[in-house]
Amino acid sequence: MNWNEHLPALLLALPLLGAFLAPLCSLGGKTLRNAMLVAVSFFTLLVAFFLWRTVLADGIQYYVMGGENSRLALPSGMAIPIRIILEVDALSAFMALCGAIASFAGALFSLNYMSRFTGLSRFASLYLLLTAGMLGMMITGDIFNFFVFIEVSSIASFGLIAFWRDRPAAVEASFKYALISQVGSMLILVAAGCLYGKYNMLNMAAIGSALKMGAMEKVALVFLVGSLAMKCGAFPMHMWLPDGYAEAPTGVTCLLVAVSQASLYGLARVCFSVYGIAIGSAFIPWMIIVFGLASMFFGVAMAVVQHDMKRLIGYHSVSQVGYMLLGLGVGLLVLGDPRAMAEFGFTAITGGLFHAFNYTMYKALLFLAAGAVYYATGKRDLNDMGGLARRMPYTAVMFLIASAAISGLPPFNGFVSKLFIYESSFAVHPFLAVVALVTSVLTLASFVKVFQTAFLGPEKSVFAGVREVPPAMLAGMAVLTVVVLGLTLFPSWSIANLAEPAARALVDQSGYIGAIMGGGM
């Protein structure tokens, strides 16, 4: 049996199996459950890595679920694919790798972080279910299936955000997220229904091959763009995000960062691979650019004045998503103009996607470091902190690295992706680049404040008994630190092997469609 052929299905089967095994493993004790959680996350990461490598070497991989032959998308006599197909191009593989790294780091971190609490079999189940939902969103080729995976990840998220159900703030944050998320999911379902009603198809590649812009398609596009922009935290639909990120257990927040990127992936997939140049007017690309600018600026403006560490980092998530939206919006704006695409559009998309990878790594690291501080001190309010670098030197160093990366300080990885976005957005209008630069300055100002107030300054007597966090938590942070440093030290390799293949796959609508429809656009 050729295992490579089954990698897309394995990527979903592993975390799903783990989710249902967790309650059983819990019967065998804490050690068995923890070992299962970490092992499943690690093997999921390995599968994601091998899938990414296979896609880079052999091109788009697809997997027909439930068919006689997993590689037969269009059985003889069929004009359109009717089974659920997982379609993994370089973009899907890139996002899945990114999500799997975050999931593994969060699982490692949670071993010690969650050890003080009860109900951990449910925690492990929901955590792995969230991982499966996120990865499903990233690799499915079916728009209804995409909705199903959104629901899987959303329901797992509601439970995980409200995991500390004795805390009213956690229950409230979960309720808010559930409310807006469910309305968003319903609109995605309506959009899928619009497209199914018009084309009698649910496969994204097949819809893309037949799509012609009309009223129904426009309604579906607006519902998809609005809902997915909301789910990735675009301003002004972002308000659920700081609450949800701040109240969830920290290992979960690390994974939620990657889940928001699955929504961003969905947005890009719909706009580029399903609609492509049929999108016609510049309105939607400009809307995405405006979402990007507003998210960047207002997100960071809110972050600067926060003093709850996790809420502050949460507002920075809104701001950082803005960079990706700006890059993708600029690329979408010039999708039908090969010259502009070659001059700056492709750079914008590459920058946006590279930023998505960078962001997931350093933002997850920042949340884990904030969680480590909370674990050690019981404090989240920066006003109560100070001098912690003496007590928690490893956490402080890793937080500093992530802060430098998010602030876009050279030579860190955040700088490289931002540079791509600055230069390409400048080509559309200098104002776009100015907003991006001002946002970066404010991001730096904000993290100078956080680092100075939490880790530097004189030691406070109340922290005399504080010790560095346990090894599993440090290991979770170290995984992400190593990735951030790797992306920093080898930017040309990272761009050539991670971001550019993903960007090429995103703009190659005919390649995405042809893999399923046999080139029959």
């Binding site: 309305v183 426009k218 607006v222 609005g226 403006a301 003093h307 404040k449 956080v450």
Partner: protein, 112 residues
């Protein structure tokens, strides 16, 4: 390592790392030189705190995070009043923004 080509120019991570290594070496060398008149355990070890007596606990020394960038926030008070004001935290407001944005996009794309 290597150069990153952006399409508009390039950026070399190696050059920056060399710069930081050289700068760090120079700063550490300067620090190592020290001052010849330094005497450990004297008042020279005291923190200078605007001529006042240094508090025992760090609490009295630090500027709390909520006071950081006070001037920035004060200068932009009208902007911040509105921005913070729109973050009510009320679930229906959160949903309202989403519905409004989606409705706006739908109206423009369908009727303009």
């Amino acid at each position: 390592m290597g150069k990153v080509f952006t399409g508009f120019g390039y950026w070399d991570v190696g050059a920056w790392i060399i710069f930081f290594v050289v700068a760090a070496f120079y700063v550490l060398w300067l620090r190592y030189q020290g001052r010849s008149d330094y005497k450990k355990g004297t008042e020279q070890d005291e923190i200078y705190w605007s001529g006042n007596e240094t508090p025992e606990d760090g609490d009295g020394l630090t500027v709390p995070a909520s006071s950081a960038y006070w001037g920035f926030r004060k200068a932009l008070e009208p902007f911040y009043d509105r921005l913070v004001g729109m973050h009510t935290g009320i679930a229906t407001d959160i949903l309202g923004f989403y519905i409004l944005v989606t409705a706006f996009m739908a109206a423009i794309i369908l009727f303009v």
